[in-house]
Subunit: 182 residues, 2 copies
DNA sequence: ACCTGAACACCGTTCAAGT
DNA sequence: ACCTGAACACCGTTCAAGT
């Protein structure tokens, strides 16, 4: 990659991070280009789809996911507490940007999605929790990590799009947890 | 309302029903106006917000909701079967149009939403199921109709936006049901 | 009182012309 | 090889001019 191209590429990501933080993942790409001081064509050359840009934004995010899973698994306690702790971390992680819960949850198990590797990190982390609970015999037969991601992602999506009071989210996650434990 | 206004009003609803069936609730309102043979201003005069038009579309829908609740409640059987039957009917009812699950679920408990009366019908129907299960002592303490609507609505939203295989939805509803029953 | 449709603002996307 | 920015298509929304 040429030096000026690399500079533009980095600058777009930097600015997009800022714009998406302020306005969510559905923010105008035109504004990203403007703030980055590049033409719209340059943005499209580097990131043909919005999800490609989102994927680039999420690079450092994968570390936070595995760290959160580590932290949740380190907790010694009853299965329900572990599961609920992971659910809350999960919701927080995918809700960092407005529009995130829907985008991420819809991309799960979609091989065509540009953010599929990020979703795989998320399902893999969830699967570690599943494995632990399964080993303890705490999980209902038939439940798996993908189901968990979809259910918790669904709760996060509703909370995100409906501007739900954070206090209303906990009980919903509790129901999901109870439905997955023996 | 003047005769020609009434004629336009009815025609817009008729055409919108068709367009929304084909393309979902996020379809272009410009196309609705064009197909109805009215100017965009006329559409906006009658329906200042998209949700006002959706609300008009949903008029006959409320009967289907109460009928579905009647039918679910008529079933004699174990609590879980009743609950899952209602969940499946609920998902079907809000998924008639693409974009419906998100729109409807986000409007629940939102007093500002133009479709709030439709959501109230939905929560009221769900509450009838809740009352029945509560009387049988089958429900976990603390769960209510609004939580149910949000959880099942979340599942429907994920299924709708992520083009989920219908076969994958049933197990998710099963988890939610198990989480709400003793 | 109601309708029309031009007009505006905004956004995503493309591509010919430049360097 | 890469960038620019004009240009296009589309959409929601408004409003002055008409009837």
């Amino acid at each position: 990659m040429r030096a000026d191209a690399k500079r533009n590429y980095d600058r777009i990501i930097e600015v997009a991070r800022e714009v998406f933080r302020e306005q969510g993942y559905d923010a105008s790409l035109d504004e990203v280009a403007k703030r980055a001081g590049v033409g719209p064509g340059t943005l499209y050359r580097h990131f043909p789809r919005r999800e490609n840009l989102i994927d680039a934004i999420m690079q450092s995010w994968v570390d936070r996911v595995t760290e959160a899973a580590d932290k949740a698994l380190a907790h010694e306690g009853p299965p329900r507490a572990l599961l609920v702790a992971w659910f809350e971390a999960y919701v927080a992680l995918i809700s960092l940007h407005k529009g995130g819960p829907a985008k991420i949850t819809c991309a799960i198990e979609d091989p065509e999605s540009p953010i599929r590797t990020k979703c795989q990190t998320l399902t893999a982390a969830t699967d570690r929790v599943v494995q632990r609970l399964e080993a303890e015999g705490a999980l209902r037969p038939g439940v798996d990590a993908v189901q968990m991601c979809r259910l918790v992602g669904g709760v996060a999506t509703v909370a995100d799009q409906g501007n739900l009071d954070p206090a209303a989210v906990g009980p919903l996650l509790g129901v999901v947890a109870d439905g997955m434990l023996v």
